[in-house]
Amino acid sequence: MTKVIRIPWLAVYAIAYLVFLYLPVLLLPLFSFNDGTIVAFPLKGFTLKWYAQLGQQDTLLQAMVNSLIVGSVTALMATSLGLFAARAYVRYRFAGRELSEGLVMLPLVIPGIIVASSMLVLFISIGLKPSLTTVILGHVFVALPFSVSIMKSAFDDFDQSLEEAAFDLGESVVGTFRRVTLPIVAPGIIASLLVTFTVSFDEFVLAFFLSGNSPTLPVYIWSQIRFPAKLPNTLALGSLLLLSSVLLLLIAEYFRRRSIQSSD
């Protein structure tokens, strides 16, 4: 009897697809340690010098500081707006709720170039020069849908009776929010802060249009891509950025799951 071996084609395809997905992401770190200025096989040898050189570039460090400022302020603003909106969507049934929810999600589906060009035109029209402030205003707009959806899932499983109990025991509205609601949804807030920070930290097109003379990190990288001599440094910087984004979002994912579990 010959046993027919059935090849699980779908599983083979799935593995091949994973390789396709990870290839570009793993390539940058691989070549950032390569002791050569062109990105091609065979690899030349291991070096850390491209990373060491990064610390000496003042424009890069300034762009990094700009990105950190923009990311932090964006995260705080988007998460505050998202926190209250999500609370309203989950807790209350009111006229215009669906309209408002749909509108708040809209930034996800508008092409970036249209958001960028229309905001540039708006800010110039009201006399706001391109700067980090305009980038922040733009980033809050694109980060808000992420914050709202994370906060909605945090409030979704929130047990209403805990708040009612606090009221009955004489706590005020603000006190209940601060001492009961907030601690329970705190993991959701942390997840939202981290995700919106990363959205802002990685965003390019809006920052490209709105940053004026103070580039954020992606805008700085864009300016470096054109110079072949800077390629190894760009790879090193890119690898650090990839690593920090993935780490931040893994932490965010951990908190997001905790926020869903804790309320069960």
Partner: protein, 287 residues
């Protein structure tokens, strides 16, 4: 006032107002200004506020604009088709053929938590003349000369974007597959459907909502994509976003840029509506 705020509607509106107003104002006000700009003209730094159809005339008569607009929609269509076709088997695999669903979903989303700009840049390095793929193939002795058709054309744009949008296709299709009542599939088999028939007549029609969602999420932003055509498109792969950026940058013709933005938005909307109507009708017919 206090009475209104204590009611359900009042509380809901008050809490959601800041976010709603923020997004609403930043959508509506720039749109109005964009419309106004599209009827103005610009000479160097001066904006001439006399109303005119000149920009629309230019946009409709200039062969370059028409060409780029058609190409943007065509490339976005190709990207959508490629991404959804490549993603469907993966979604199917995760929904039906593996126990480790959470692990697979995590594995698929992790690469997309990294910067989009850097992923596109990485594709440029992979596909280049002296790039990773060519040098690897030459080292392995599979080719003698570097392949030149990889970078700076429509193919590179479609490949890069099919990679960039992967999870946006996989996740909605996975959700719709996961929702399918398994007893329907058993019933189809019991009633004598072959595996293929069962897929075409039961599984596929039930995932139409997921497919529509995936297509819209991919198609709409892709028409206006700037980074990918700029980095890997070359002159053959330029899209309308690149032209818009030039109008706001080097060419310094904001009114024309505003007109092009509006026209791009309109064409995306029209194609999306036609698509949803067509697919919904098709889905009903299969069943």
């Amino acid at each position: 006032m206090a009475g209104v705020l204590r009611s359900e509607t009042g509380k809901g509106l008050a809490l959601s107002a800041p976010a709603t107003l923020y997004v609403g104002l930043l959508v509506a006000v720039p749109l109005c200004i964009l419309v106004a700009y599209s009827f103005w003209t610009q000479t160097y730094v001066e904006i001439d506020r006399k109303l005119t159809w000149a920009n629309y005339q230019e946009a409709f008569t200039d062969p370059l604009v028409r060409h780029l607009m058609i190409r943007s929609v065509a490339i976005a269509g190709a990207v959508t088709l490629a991404t959804v076709c490549l993603a469907y088997p993966i979604a199917y695999f995760i929904a039906f053929r593996t126990q480790k669903k959470t692990l697979w979903l995590l594995l698929i989303t992790i690469p997309f938590w990294s910067s989009y700009l850097l992923r596109v840049f990485s594709w440029k390095l992979i596909l280049g003349f002296n790039g990773v793929l060519n040098s690897a193939l030459i080292s392995l002795g599979l080719i003698q000369e570097p392949l030149t058709f990889l970078l700076y054309n429509e193919f590179a744009v479609v490949l890069t974007l099919a990679h960039a949008w992967a999870p946006f296709a996989i996740l909605p299709i996975y959700v719709s597959l996961q929702k399918i009542d398994r007893s329907l599939l058993e019933a189809a088999t019991d009633l004598g459907c072959s595996k293929l028939e069962r897929f075409v007549r039961v599984t596929l029609p039930l995932t139409v909502p997921g497919i529509i969602a995936a297509c819209l999420i991919i198609f709409i932003p892709t028409v206006g994509d700037y980074v990918t055509p700029a980095l890997v498109g070359g002159s053959q792969g330029k899209m309308v976003a690149n032209l818009i950026q030039v109008q706001f940058g080097a060419a310094n013709n904001w009114p024309l840029g505003a007109t092009l933005s509006l026209l791009a938005m309109l064409s995306v909307g029209c194609v999306a509506i036609v698509f949803v109507v067509a697919v919904t009708a098709l889905g009903r017919r299969i069943r």
